[in-house]
Every structure is written in C-alpha cells, then in structure tokens.
Symmetry: C2
Subunit: 350 residues, 2 copies
C-alpha cells in the first residue's frame, strides 16, 4: 500500500492549498525550473498560503549535485528549519531532484510532488525514486523516499507543446499494452491528444503503475513490465541525445515499443493483427524516423550496456498479447537489428 495520497483532478490545487494550510509547516518553498516558474507557478501560487518560490535552470543536464548544492545554500540562507516543506513544481527532473534535496536537507524535511508534464503525471510521481545524474549515469546518486502527497492538476498540460504532450502519452500507451486489453480498444480510437479527459487517463495510468509497484516494490519481477519498450527505446534515446536532433523520452519509447512488439510477435506471443494496431496508433501520434546501419550498431552497443541487463545478456520485457507481459526475455544483438530493420521498413509506409 502506498503510504501517501495521490490527488488527481480539477481541484488538485485547492487540495494542496488546504493540506498546507492545515499543516504546521514553518516555511513553504516552491521549487520550479525556469519554464515551470514562468508557465505553471502563476497558475498555482494563489492557491498556496504564504510561501517562497525559487527556480533552477530547466533540463536533464542540470539534474546534478551542483544544482542541489545551490538550492541547499538558498534554503540555508533562508534559515529553513526541520519543519519546513518543499513543493516540487515541474516534470521528472524537478520531482526526482527536488525530492532528494528535501530528503537530505537537515537529514530530511517533508516534500510534495506537483508534476506538470504528462510524463511525470502518469509515471514519475509513483514509486518514490529520487536522485540526480552523476558522471554519465542517470539517477546514479539518490534514494527512495516518500512524499507527503502527490497533487496532479491536469490543467498544467495546457502549458506543454504538442511534442511534450505526445511524449507523455507514450507511457499511457505502454500501460495499456502491458495491463489493459479492454482499455486498448478505446485508446486506439484517440485522434486528438488535446481533446481528452486527462483526469480519467491519469487516474487509469496511475492505478496501473501503483498496482504493479505495490506488487513488486524491489523490481524483482512484475515491475519489470514497466520496462516494455525501454530496452531498445532507451538505447535510441541515449544515441539521439548526443546528436543535434534529440528525441523526447516518449518519442524514443514509442519506437522501442514497436520494435519490442515485433520481437514479441517473433517469439509467438503476439499476433500480427495486434502488432498492426500498435503500429497504427503510434504512427498516428509520433513522427517516424529512419535509422542508418551505423545507428543500428550504436543502438545495439548501448542496449548491451543497459543497467537492467544481467551479466552480458540483453534482457527485455515482451507483451503476451495486448494487456499481458512476460519479463526476463533474453534477446540477441541480431534480434535488435532485425527489429530495427522492421521498424525502418514499416516507417516507410507512413
């Protein structure tokens, strides 16, 4: 059982306001990045009791200990004591890093998460993994710690670009593919991501992730289902990050899901009709790309170095029909190459 409440809906800001007013915090600090400070904080501030707000530069490259040190210095200068609370207003970077900042300040003060991207609303707020990047490794320094609550106001999604909204939607697609066959039928019909009832969509995704995380808090089994699309997708994301044309997380994962759905079919777990329905939905929402032979090698090399592997084996999660999964599926470099060739061929058609 999660030990903290997740509030989702049009009244999430009011609920955060009353939580803070009814608590006995000595100080309230809103931590934003420069984007969410400009775009989201004005939509939140009037709901909060007296507080201070600070912002840090936006982006994964500032998810570092140096940024933490800067915030800790400000908190110290503000004489924040052990009864203060931090309100993390932003996407996954702010949630992960702000949670760590609060968890280590004076051996730990309270914090709440106010995710503002679709990705963080459906994904990053459940699971209590906090941290920063270190050297070239993502989330290499961090800890597990629970917030006092998560407050999800779908209205923040209006501050996102179309690309960012679609990127978060990839995790919604993933949650259906691994856990909700019935919901998939409705999801397939979605055409315009701007015209959705996000309260219902986020509640659905959060419930699926929550169920899976509770079932397997230490990532021994079921929780690996959440890695569907991520073995190949992460490798693609990481390769493209070093180019002039990086992909957003969900954009890379959408390609990874096509590749891994293809491999699920090759393994006899998924029929062609289901594979086609996945391709159709993803192709509608994401631009297609084309990988060169050199990029194939790069992607395979990165997949081999994935921290989720056991020894030298590349481990993957397959879907076993839509709505079910099989974890710990070993794949070879040849399998990855074949799946990328399939993706390239398929992409030509869209």
């Amino acid at each position: 059982m999660l030990s903290y409440p997740i509030h989702i809906g049009a009244d999430a800001r009011e609920k955060l306001g009353s939580f803070l007013r009814n608590s006995d915090y000595s100080q309230i600090l809103v931590l934003a990045d420069n984007h969410t400070y400009d775009l989201c904080y004005p939509k939140l501030r009037d709901y909060l009791p007296v507080h201070e707000a600070i912002h840090i530069p936006a982006g994964e490259k500032f998810k570092t200990l140096e940024t933490c040190v800067g915030v800790w210095s400000k908190m110290t200068d503000m004489a924040m004591d052990r009864k203060a609370i931090v309100v993390n207003l932003g996407g996954g970077v702010i949630g992960d890093m702000g949670g760590m900042i609060a968890s280590l300040y004076k051996r730990g003060i309270d914090f709440v998460q106010v995710p503002t991207t679709l990705l963080s609303q459906v994904d990053a707020s459940v699971g209590s993994k906090l941290g920063v990047d270190f050297m070239q490794y993502k989330n290499h320094i961090g800890l597990f710690n629970d917030p006092q609550g998560v407050y999800i106001w779908p209205g923040f999604l209006n501050t996102l670009s179309d690309r960012e909204l679609a990127s978060g939607f990839a995790e919604v697609i993933k949650h259906h593919l691994i856990a909700d066959q019935a919901g998939w039928e409705g999801l397939k019909e979605i055409r315009d991501l701007r015209k959705l009832d996000y309260t219902q969509i986020i509640e659905h995704s959060v419930a699926i992730k929550q169920r899976i995380v509770e079932e397997d808090p230490f990532e021994k089994g079921a929780r690996k289902s959440l890695n569907f699309g991520h073995t190949i997708g992460h490798a693609i994301e990481s390769m493209r990050l070093e180019t002039e044309a990086p992909l957003l997380h969900g954009e890379a994962i959408s390609i990874g899901m096509i590749c891994e759905a293809f491999l699920s079919r090759e393994a006899g777990l998924l029929d062609t009709k289901a594979l086609v329905s996945i391709i159709e939905l993803i192709s509608h929402h994401y631009p297609s790309t084309n990988f060169s032979a050199g990029e194939f090698d790069d992607i395979i090399a990165r997949a081999l170095n994935d921290k989720k592997n056991e020894g030298k084996k590349i481990m993957c999660t397959f879907i076993d029909g839509i709505g079910q999964f099989k974890v710990n599926q070993e794949i070879s470099d040849g399998d990855i190459e074949e799946s990328l060739e399939f993706y390239n061929d398929m992409a030509k058609g869209y």
Copy 2:
C-alpha cells in the same frame, strides 16, 4: 528495537569476516581515512575476504559533499553495483560520511560500521545519523539509515593517542552521569585509561545509549539527556576550533559537564559532594584551561545559536543527582557566565 547487530569484543574482526564471507556481495570496499588506513587497516585486512580499500584525508574539514563526490567517482570507476557493500573504517567522520556515501550510491547499497576511536565506538555507531557538513553547519546534509551491522574491536584503541582516548572517555563519563549511579562508584576509581577492560566499558555505554535512543528515536524527550554537557561544551569546542589550540570533542564536553553539573547544583538537583566527585574525576583525566572575559562572551553567543534551542531560549539538560537527568531546562546567559567563572576558579585548584 535496533534492527541491526552490534558486535563488541576481541572477536569482532572474525565476526565481520564471516558476515562478509557468508553474504553474497559482488564487491567489498573498505573506506578509511589516511590515519586509519595506515594504523587500523593493516590490523583488519587479513580478516576480510577479497576486497578493495581506499582512503580519504583525515579530519572534520574533509567531511564534505566534495569528498563524497570523489568516493562516488572511484566507486563508479570500479563498476560497483547494487550488490556491493562499504566497510567504514574510522572515527565519527568516516562513519557518518561513509554511511551517507553508501546510502546514496545507486539509491543505496549496504554498509557496515567499524569504528576505531573510543568516541565512535561508544557513541557514533548507535543512532544511524549519517551526513556531511555544509557551509558552516555540522551534519547539515544527510539522512537516517541503518548499517547492516556495527563491529567494534577494542584493539583499535591502541592506535589512539592519550588525548584521543581520553576524549572518547568523556562520553563514557556522561553515560554514567545520566544513567548509572551504581557504575559511577567504580568509574570514579579509574586512574589509568590504558588499563581498562574496554569490551565491558563499550558494552555498557552502547547499552545505555541504545536504551535511550529506542525510548525516544525522534529526540523529543529522553534522547536529549545525551546532550548533557553539550550545550556549553559544544560552544567551547566551536570557539576553540577557530584558534591555534583546538580542543578535542570530549575535552570540551568534559568542561561543559562541569559547568552544567554546577548549574544542576544551582537548580537544587545535585548536592555538593556529587559535584565535587565529578570535578575530581574530570580533573584527573583532562588538562584544565582558563577562559578570558572575551571568551565568556564568545561562548555565550555560540550557545545562543545552538540548533537545540527553541526560539531564543537556551535549553540545557541537567542531572538530577548522579544517574538521572532532567531535559528542557532553560538557562540564561548569566547562568553560563556564572558556570564559567566557577570552572575558572575550580581549575585554579588543580
């Protein structure tokens, strides 16, 4: 109940060796400082299975995030994974900082504490407070987390100077003053700190601290008894740290205990005979000092800024006869001045 074992005695090294051999750790890293690497590590290494050892500069001024970053880089270069363990070999600085380093590496790997000073053997190993100093504040960034075990080999005490040994003994004196009237009678007779059965002394002190910490894990009441001698003692330590003649922690606390025992008598809680017995024991083991009027003011100013205060009040723990205590006793700047004058007068006689 403590959730981890504390092994004290001549066979502590063997016990650590078998714990490590019987566990399934992928790598073992011994973290020492340059002193304990030279003096203690050679006495430990043959008891351990295959491992690596690294050392950092000794001293409180290296208890920083920068030092953590250096160790994390080495751990990363060594490709330590989530199944590795850190063995912290040293005094309070290594225990607090090494525990934090392990607790944050890849969101937390196991660690054990192998304290090598009397102070850390009787004091720092119970309570699971981890952290580093930040700006001018001690332990400002840190967390609570339990080790897998604490292994206390009294043989390491032979590596200490007489001053360091006596410094740790101040906490032993404190534990008797707040919690063991019967034991006090024996303690008073001790003349030579080199000729003691430290296994028994450490067991006794650890048991007292453990009982108090379990009774009051969040420092609301009984745990404040451990602050006896520390309100004035910490202020003296911090003042002298900025001079050419710093005092060791226990040396400063021994003066603080005389001052606060004096104030306990002023409050009618302690009789003169008991106060004299405290003065006699402390004067036997610690050199006396003499404070100037300017130093009085400095000590009072620092006591006013103590993080244990509530608002503007200076809070202190008194002893209520030997072996009992009263927490949350408010004292004035005049009280501190009077106690320092008493100390100065008393010190002249020894």
